[in-house]
Symmetry: C2
Subunit: 225 residues, 2 copies
């Protein structure tokens, strides 16, 4: 068997181990000697397999600390293949048009289906975004997580990762376009969306999500003039 | 400068070369000696850079023939991060619910915005899917391309790749569920969608796309019983 194939088989064995043991993002893999024993492979092969999974954003390798399940959950860099699409304000509008097609629907579903734990996490994440804004920190990551939590509460297993992808693909550009008007839209509507989901009001959740994204679109559109 | 950084810089230089020279999927890169000269790097660094881009599905390396711009246009394997989501009939329904949210809208836009060349390509691709079905070949790839062409004709630069991703992410499973009922739905509605776009009828295009996907959803739902 070729070395590449062995490494790939080991990578698949690691994935199976993560699924079987229900490891969550941030969880640590067993130490090298233990893991070599469990998978029945040598150190070199194990390291090759781990490297392949790190390249796929399934694992994080932290020098000296070990390997961990990645918070990116296997979502690759540039999932939408935007490498050859020029990032400009027009692309932000295109992206918001895509998000407008499904995020209001996703918020509607979340208001119907979210568990008490999911509702609490969504409200807490809205608070976290506000804290970032109040302290002048970048809130791109916290914002993406807020939208992802809502999508994951929808009951559709594809929406969560898809929402995350659409939120982060042009994050750099969103960073550039942030301003106080944008910040106040985010605070106001995130709070309304979170409350509507918490209270179980599907139409309110959909409507506030729509308003939130339409205002972002309006800002981006005005910047293009 | 570390070897990794040099290879990454070379990869970026190759991307810039592709963009500047407007190379299209399937186009061949210059030969090694010519490209080394153009980019001002050694053979080892060039090869490292090309390997990085092959891993990102931006280039295809064909042994003995050279390197080519990939038809995958930088869209990675498993863009949606489905590695940890179990593929089952339920996931197909979740995926179709996502597609139903935006593909009818995308077809509507295409009916308004498609150029004569884009219309011709969409009609020709509907014929190609029919040919595959008639000859008993797999039509998963041809089907994905039909939906991608429509999305690319929408004028929104994100829809094209996104549609392709949603079409191909669970292609294996779609393959399993294909049957004659599914085939006749595909032939009938692809043709109607293509004709509506060609004729410039937005509501018809949206309605037929909706019917097409709802019927796929009905098949998948019945298989789950």
């Amino acid at each position: 068997m070729s070395k590449a194939t062995l490494a790939e088989e080991t990578a698949q064995a690691i994935i199976n181990y993560i699924i079987k043991n229900e490891l969550q993002p941030g969880d640590k893999l067993p130490t090298e000697p233990v893991f070599m024993e469990k998978l029945g492979v040598g150190r070199g092969t194990l390291r090759e397999g781990i490297k392949l999974l790190a390249a796929r954003n399934i694992l994080d390798i932290r020098q000296g600390a070990g390997s961990f399940v990645s918070h990116q959950r296997g979502i690759p860099d540039d999932p939408l293949g935007l490498t050859f699409i020029e990032e400009d304000d027009n692309l932000i509008v295109d992206m918001l048009d895509v998000r407008l097609l499904f995020e209001p629907h996703v918020a509607r579903l979340a208001a119907t289906k979210a568990s008490p734990e999911e509702k609490a996490a969504i409200v807490a994440q809205a608070d976290e975004v506000e804290r970032c804004i109040a302290e002048g920190e970048s809130y791109v990551a916290a914002d993406a997580r807020f939208h992802r939590l809502i999508a994951e509460a929808s009951g559709n297993r594809v929406f969560g990762n898809l929402t995350y992808i659409l939120n982060t693909s042009i994050a750099k550009n969103i960073e550039i376009t942030k301003d106080s008007q944008r910040d106040s839209n985010t605070i106001r509507y995130h709070r309304k969306i979170a409350e509507a989901i918490k209270g179980g009001h599907p139409n309110d959740a959909a409507s506030y999500m729509n308003m939130h994204l339409q205002l972002l679109r309006e800002f981006a559109r005005e910047k293009m003039q």
